[in-house]
Amino acid sequence: MPKASTISVLVVDDQQSMRGICKFILNQLGFQKITEAKSGRDALGKLQENKIDLIISDWNMDDIDGLTLLKVIRKHPKTKTMPFIMATGRSDKEQVKEAIVAGVNNYIIKPFDAGSMKKKIEAVIGALV
Protein backbone atom coordinates (compact mmCIF):
# COMPACT_ATOMS: atom_id res chain seq x y z
CA MET A 1 0.00 0.00 0.00
CA PRO A 2 1.40 3.43 -0.92
CA LYS A 3 2.47 5.73 1.89
CA ALA A 4 1.06 9.22 1.36
CA SER A 5 4.14 10.96 2.73
CA THR A 6 6.36 9.39 0.07
CA ILE A 7 4.19 10.26 -2.92
CA SER A 8 5.01 13.38 -4.92
CA VAL A 9 1.90 15.22 -6.06
CA LEU A 10 1.74 17.97 -8.66
CA VAL A 11 -1.21 20.31 -8.09
CA VAL A 12 -2.10 22.32 -11.20
CA ASP A 13 -4.52 25.23 -10.95
CA ASP A 14 -4.39 28.81 -12.18
CA GLN A 15 -6.14 30.04 -9.05
CA GLN A 16 -3.91 30.46 -6.03
CA SER A 17 -6.81 29.84 -3.63
CA MET A 18 -7.65 26.53 -5.28
CA ARG A 19 -4.02 25.38 -5.11
CA GLY A 20 -4.04 26.35 -1.45
CA ILE A 21 -7.23 24.41 -0.77
CA CYS A 22 -5.95 21.35 -2.60
CA LYS A 23 -2.61 21.48 -0.78
CA PHE A 24 -4.39 21.91 2.58
CA ILE A 25 -6.52 18.83 1.93
CA LEU A 26 -3.55 16.78 0.70
CA ASN A 27 -1.67 17.72 3.88
CA GLN A 28 -4.65 16.50 5.89
CA LEU A 29 -4.34 13.17 4.08
CA GLY A 30 -0.65 12.89 4.95
CA PHE A 31 0.89 14.06 1.68
CA GLN A 32 4.05 16.08 2.23
CA LYS A 33 5.69 16.25 -1.18
CA ILE A 34 3.48 18.70 -3.03
CA THR A 35 4.56 20.78 -6.00
CA GLU A 36 2.34 23.56 -7.31
CA ALA A 37 1.93 24.68 -10.92
CA LYS A 38 -0.05 27.79 -11.77
CA SER A 39 -0.85 26.81 -15.35
CA GLY A 40 -0.73 23.89 -17.74
CA ARG A 41 2.47 25.29 -19.23
CA ASP A 42 4.00 25.65 -15.78
CA ALA A 43 3.01 22.03 -15.05
CA LEU A 44 4.96 20.77 -18.06
CA GLY A 45 8.04 22.59 -16.77
CA LYS A 46 7.56 21.22 -13.25
CA LEU A 47 7.27 17.69 -14.64
CA GLN A 48 10.68 18.05 -16.25
CA GLU A 49 12.27 19.42 -13.07
CA ASN A 50 10.66 17.13 -10.47
CA LYS A 51 9.90 13.48 -9.89
CA ILE A 52 6.10 13.37 -9.81
CA ASP A 53 3.95 10.37 -8.89
CA LEU A 54 0.46 11.87 -9.21
CA ILE A 55 -1.09 14.88 -10.93
CA ILE A 56 -4.21 16.66 -9.72
CA SER A 57 -5.16 19.28 -12.27
CA ASP A 58 -7.89 21.85 -12.74
CA TRP A 59 -9.78 21.78 -16.02
CA ASN A 60 -10.23 25.51 -16.73
CA MET A 61 -6.92 27.28 -17.17
CA ASP A 62 -5.77 30.20 -19.25
CA ASP A 63 -2.92 28.89 -21.38
CA ILE A 64 -3.00 25.08 -21.52
CA ASP A 65 -6.20 23.72 -19.99
CA GLY A 66 -6.41 20.51 -18.00
CA LEU A 67 -7.62 18.42 -20.90
CA THR A 68 -4.82 19.60 -23.19
CA LEU A 69 -2.29 19.02 -20.42
CA LEU A 70 -3.60 15.48 -20.01
CA LYS A 71 -3.31 14.82 -23.75
CA VAL A 72 0.27 16.13 -23.85
CA ILE A 73 1.22 14.00 -20.83
CA ARG A 74 -0.32 10.89 -22.36
CA LYS A 75 1.68 11.38 -25.56
CA HIS A 76 5.06 11.68 -23.85
CA PRO A 77 6.82 8.32 -23.23
CA LYS A 78 8.05 9.36 -19.77
CA THR A 79 4.68 10.49 -18.49
CA LYS A 80 2.16 8.53 -20.51
CA THR A 81 1.19 6.27 -17.59
CA MET A 82 1.36 8.93 -14.87
CA PRO A 83 -1.75 8.90 -12.64
CA PHE A 84 -3.87 11.96 -13.46
CA ILE A 85 -6.93 13.20 -11.58
CA MET A 86 -8.96 16.04 -13.06
CA ALA A 87 -10.50 18.48 -10.58
CA THR A 88 -13.39 20.22 -12.21
CA GLY A 89 -16.48 22.22 -11.50
CA ARG A 90 -18.01 20.77 -14.61
CA SER A 91 -20.22 17.86 -13.73
CA ASP A 92 -21.33 17.54 -17.32
CA LYS A 93 -21.13 13.92 -18.31
CA GLU A 94 -19.93 14.69 -21.82
CA GLN A 95 -16.92 16.58 -20.52
CA VAL A 96 -16.07 13.82 -18.09
CA LYS A 97 -16.32 11.34 -20.95
CA GLU A 98 -13.96 13.51 -23.01
CA ALA A 99 -11.41 13.32 -20.19
CA ILE A 100 -11.87 9.56 -19.92
CA VAL A 101 -11.22 9.16 -23.65
CA ALA A 102 -8.07 11.27 -23.23
CA GLY A 103 -6.86 8.90 -20.53
CA VAL A 104 -7.76 10.50 -17.21
CA ASN A 105 -7.50 8.08 -14.28
CA ASN A 106 -10.23 9.71 -12.24
CA TYR A 107 -11.94 13.03 -11.70
CA ILE A 108 -13.13 15.00 -8.70
CA ILE A 109 -15.93 17.53 -8.75
CA LYS A 110 -15.62 20.78 -6.82
CA PRO A 111 -16.31 21.54 -4.05
CA PHE A 112 -14.41 18.60 -2.59
CA ASP A 113 -13.27 17.69 0.89
CA ALA A 114 -10.59 15.39 2.33
CA GLY A 115 -12.91 12.37 2.26
CA SER A 116 -13.79 12.65 -1.41
CA MET A 117 -10.18 13.44 -2.35
CA LYS A 118 -8.94 10.36 -0.46
CA LYS A 119 -11.49 8.17 -2.21
CA LYS A 120 -10.44 9.42 -5.65
CA ILE A 121 -6.72 9.10 -4.98
CA GLU A 122 -7.10 5.61 -3.56
CA ALA A 123 -9.12 4.55 -6.59
CA VAL A 124 -6.11 5.51 -8.73
CA ILE A 125 -3.04 4.51 -6.70
CA GLY A 126 -4.42 2.14 -4.07
CA ALA A 127 -5.29 2.40 -0.38
CA LEU A 128 -3.15 4.94 1.45
CA VAL A 129 -1.31 4.30 4.69
Binding site: Q15, Q16, S17, M18, G20, I21, F24, I25, N60, D62, T88, G89, R90, S91, K93, V96, K97, I100, V104, N105, N106, Y107, I109, K110, P111, F112, D113, G115, S116, A123
Partner: protein, 200 residues
Protein backbone atom coordinates in the same frame (compact mmCIF):
# COMPACT_ATOMS: atom_id res chain seq x y z
CA UNK B 1 -26.65 21.53 -11.76
CA UNK B 2 -23.28 23.03 -11.06
CA UNK B 3 -20.68 21.95 -8.56
CA UNK B 4 -22.23 24.12 -5.87
CA UNK B 5 -25.71 22.96 -6.61
CA UNK B 6 -26.33 26.27 -8.30
CA UNK B 7 -27.68 26.85 -11.73
CA UNK B 8 -25.42 28.31 -14.37
CA UNK B 9 -27.52 29.38 -17.28
CA UNK B 10 -27.22 31.36 -20.43
CA UNK B 11 -29.98 33.56 -19.10
CA UNK B 12 -32.11 32.98 -22.17
CA UNK B 13 -35.19 32.24 -20.17
CA UNK B 14 -37.17 35.35 -20.99
CA UNK B 15 -40.04 35.68 -23.36
CA UNK B 16 -39.04 37.07 -26.74
CA UNK B 17 -38.41 40.81 -26.47
CA UNK B 18 -39.49 41.11 -22.84
CA UNK B 19 -37.36 42.24 -19.93
CA UNK B 20 -36.66 39.37 -17.58
CA UNK B 21 -35.53 39.48 -13.97
CA UNK B 22 -33.50 36.47 -12.84
CA UNK B 23 -33.33 36.11 -9.06
CA UNK B 24 -30.00 34.88 -7.75
CA UNK B 25 -30.68 33.13 -4.46
CA UNK B 26 -28.12 32.28 -1.79
CA UNK B 27 -25.79 29.60 -3.19
CA UNK B 28 -26.79 30.58 -6.71
CA UNK B 29 -24.78 31.57 -9.74
CA UNK B 30 -26.18 32.90 -13.00
CA UNK B 31 -24.42 33.91 -16.21
CA UNK B 32 -26.03 35.62 -19.19
CA UNK B 33 -25.32 37.69 -22.26
CA UNK B 34 -28.99 38.49 -22.81
CA UNK B 35 -29.60 42.24 -22.97
CA UNK B 36 -33.11 41.69 -21.61
CA UNK B 37 -31.89 40.06 -18.41
CA UNK B 38 -31.52 41.80 -15.07
CA UNK B 39 -30.09 39.71 -12.25
CA UNK B 40 -31.44 40.59 -8.85
CA UNK B 41 -30.77 39.63 -5.27
CA UNK B 42 -31.13 40.88 -1.70
CA UNK B 43 -28.06 40.83 0.53
CA UNK B 44 -27.74 41.13 4.28
CA UNK B 45 -24.40 39.75 5.42
CA UNK B 46 -24.07 37.80 2.17
CA UNK B 47 -21.78 38.76 -0.68
CA UNK B 48 -22.58 38.99 -4.36
CA UNK B 49 -19.91 39.41 -6.99
CA UNK B 50 -20.89 40.74 -10.39
CA UNK B 51 -18.31 39.61 -12.93
CA UNK B 52 -18.43 40.77 -16.53
CA UNK B 53 -16.30 40.08 -19.56
CA UNK B 54 -16.12 43.59 -20.98
CA UNK B 55 -15.21 42.42 -24.49
CA UNK B 56 -17.71 39.58 -24.82
CA UNK B 57 -20.42 41.59 -23.01
CA UNK B 58 -21.38 38.62 -20.88
CA UNK B 59 -21.69 38.68 -17.14
CA UNK B 60 -22.76 36.79 -14.09
CA UNK B 61 -23.67 37.10 -10.45
CA UNK B 62 -23.23 34.81 -7.47
CA UNK B 63 -24.54 35.01 -3.91
CA UNK B 64 -22.87 33.35 -0.95
CA UNK B 65 -22.29 33.56 2.78
CA UNK B 66 -19.42 32.23 4.87
CA UNK B 67 -21.25 31.69 8.13
CA UNK B 68 -18.66 29.90 10.25
CA UNK B 69 -15.38 31.52 9.34
CA UNK B 70 -13.32 31.98 12.48
CA UNK B 71 -10.60 34.15 11.05
CA UNK B 72 -7.80 31.86 12.16
CA UNK B 73 -5.08 30.89 9.69
CA UNK B 74 -6.27 27.28 9.76
CA UNK B 75 -9.72 28.29 8.63
CA UNK B 76 -8.39 30.05 5.59
CA UNK B 77 -8.97 26.72 3.90
CA UNK B 78 -11.72 25.47 6.21
CA UNK B 79 -15.07 24.27 4.95
CA UNK B 80 -16.70 27.69 5.03
CA UNK B 81 -13.87 29.49 3.24
CA UNK B 82 -13.64 26.69 0.70
CA UNK B 83 -17.30 27.19 -0.05
CA UNK B 84 -16.68 30.90 -0.76
CA UNK B 85 -13.65 30.17 -2.92
CA UNK B 86 -15.58 27.62 -4.96
CA UNK B 87 -18.47 30.08 -5.34
CA UNK B 88 -16.08 32.72 -6.70
CA UNK B 89 -14.23 30.27 -8.93
CA UNK B 90 -17.48 28.92 -10.32
CA UNK B 91 -18.65 32.39 -11.35
CA UNK B 92 -15.31 33.53 -12.75
CA UNK B 93 -14.79 30.31 -14.72
CA UNK B 94 -18.34 30.38 -16.07
CA UNK B 95 -17.90 33.94 -17.37
CA UNK B 96 -14.45 33.13 -18.76
CA UNK B 97 -15.59 29.98 -20.51
CA UNK B 98 -18.59 31.69 -22.09
CA UNK B 99 -16.67 34.89 -22.84
CA UNK B 100 -13.24 35.60 -24.25
CA UNK B 101 -11.42 33.41 -21.73
CA UNK B 102 -9.10 36.30 -20.87
CA UNK B 103 -8.89 37.29 -17.21
CA UNK B 104 -7.72 40.77 -18.18
CA UNK B 105 -11.13 41.43 -19.72
CA UNK B 106 -13.01 40.81 -16.48
CA UNK B 107 -14.59 43.69 -14.59
CA UNK B 108 -15.49 42.69 -11.04
CA UNK B 109 -17.87 44.51 -8.69
CA UNK B 110 -18.71 43.28 -5.19
CA UNK B 111 -21.59 44.04 -2.84
CA UNK B 112 -23.02 43.12 0.54
CA UNK B 113 -21.42 42.08 3.79
CA UNK B 114 -23.63 44.25 5.96
CA UNK B 115 -23.63 44.06 9.76
CA UNK B 116 -27.34 44.42 10.36
CA UNK B 117 -27.69 42.91 13.82
CA UNK B 118 -25.13 44.57 16.09
CA UNK B 119 -25.77 41.94 18.81
CA UNK B 120 -24.36 39.18 16.59
CA UNK B 121 -20.77 38.65 15.53
CA UNK B 122 -20.00 40.69 12.45
CA UNK B 123 -20.46 37.93 9.89
CA UNK B 124 -20.65 40.56 7.16
CA UNK B 125 -17.20 41.93 7.95
CA UNK B 126 -15.65 38.47 7.67
CA UNK B 127 -17.33 37.97 4.32
CA UNK B 128 -16.05 41.34 3.12
CA UNK B 129 -12.55 40.38 4.25
CA UNK B 130 -12.84 37.04 2.47
CA UNK B 131 -13.90 38.44 -0.90
CA UNK B 132 -11.27 41.19 -0.83
CA UNK B 133 -8.54 38.70 0.09
CA UNK B 134 -9.71 36.23 -2.54
CA UNK B 135 -9.68 38.80 -5.36
CA UNK B 136 -6.37 40.29 -4.25
CA UNK B 137 -4.82 36.82 -4.04
CA UNK B 138 -6.01 35.95 -7.53
CA UNK B 139 -4.73 39.23 -8.97
CA UNK B 140 -8.09 40.83 -9.72
CA UNK B 141 -8.93 44.48 -9.07
CA UNK B 142 -12.28 45.48 -7.63
CA UNK B 143 -13.74 47.92 -10.15
CA UNK B 144 -16.56 49.01 -7.85
CA UNK B 145 -17.95 48.01 -4.47
CA UNK B 146 -20.61 48.72 -1.90
CA UNK B 147 -19.60 46.64 1.11
CA UNK B 148 -20.18 46.67 4.87
CA UNK B 149 -22.40 49.16 6.64
CA UNK B 150 -25.34 48.33 8.89
CA UNK B 151 -27.98 47.80 6.24
CA UNK B 152 -29.19 45.23 3.74
CA UNK B 153 -29.13 45.86 0.01
CA UNK B 154 -31.12 45.02 -3.07
CA UNK B 155 -28.76 44.55 -6.04
CA UNK B 156 -29.76 44.62 -9.68
CA UNK B 157 -27.16 43.75 -12.31
CA UNK B 158 -27.47 44.06 -16.07
CA UNK B 159 -24.92 41.50 -17.31
CA UNK B 160 -24.90 42.68 -20.90
CA UNK B 161 -24.08 46.30 -20.00
CA UNK B 162 -22.37 45.73 -16.65
CA UNK B 163 -24.49 48.33 -14.85
CA UNK B 164 -25.37 47.67 -11.23
CA UNK B 165 -28.11 49.34 -9.23
CA UNK B 166 -27.98 49.24 -5.42
CA UNK B 167 -30.88 50.06 -3.10
CA UNK B 168 -30.22 50.17 0.62
CA UNK B 169 -33.02 48.63 2.69
CA UNK B 170 -34.40 49.69 6.08
CA UNK B 171 -33.28 47.90 9.24
CA UNK B 172 -36.41 45.77 9.75
CA UNK B 173 -36.10 44.31 6.27
CA UNK B 174 -32.39 43.83 6.85
CA UNK B 175 -32.84 41.81 10.05
CA UNK B 176 -35.25 39.45 8.30
CA UNK B 177 -32.80 39.00 5.44
CA UNK B 178 -29.91 38.18 7.79
CA UNK B 179 -31.97 35.64 9.76
CA UNK B 180 -32.85 33.83 6.55
CA UNK B 181 -29.27 33.99 5.26
CA UNK B 182 -27.80 32.42 8.38
CA UNK B 183 -30.44 29.68 8.44
CA UNK B 184 -29.60 28.75 4.84
CA UNK B 185 -25.85 29.00 5.41
CA UNK B 186 -25.93 26.64 8.39
CA UNK B 187 -27.42 23.94 6.18
CA UNK B 188 -25.01 24.60 3.35
CA UNK B 189 -21.70 23.15 4.47
CA UNK B 190 -19.27 22.04 1.80
CA UNK B 191 -20.68 18.72 0.72
CA UNK B 192 -19.00 17.01 -2.19
CA UNK B 193 -21.40 16.51 -5.07
CA UNK B 194 -22.48 12.98 -5.77
CA UNK B 195 -20.66 11.50 -8.74
CA UNK B 196 -22.82 9.78 -11.25
CA UNK B 197 -19.84 8.31 -13.07
CA UNK B 198 -17.52 6.07 -11.09
CA UNK B 199 -14.07 5.32 -12.42
CA UNK B 200 -12.04 2.39 -11.16
Amino acid sequence: MSALGARVSNGLRSDEGREKTVTVNQGGCEVSADQRVTMATVLGSCISACVRDSVAAIGGMNHFLLADQSGSAKDRYGASARYGAFAMEQLINSVLSQGTGRKGNLVIKVFGGGNINSLQADVGARNVEFVRDFLLGEGYEIASEDLGGNFARRIMFKPASGRVFVKRLDSDAGKTVVREELAIAKKRVVAPPVDDIELF
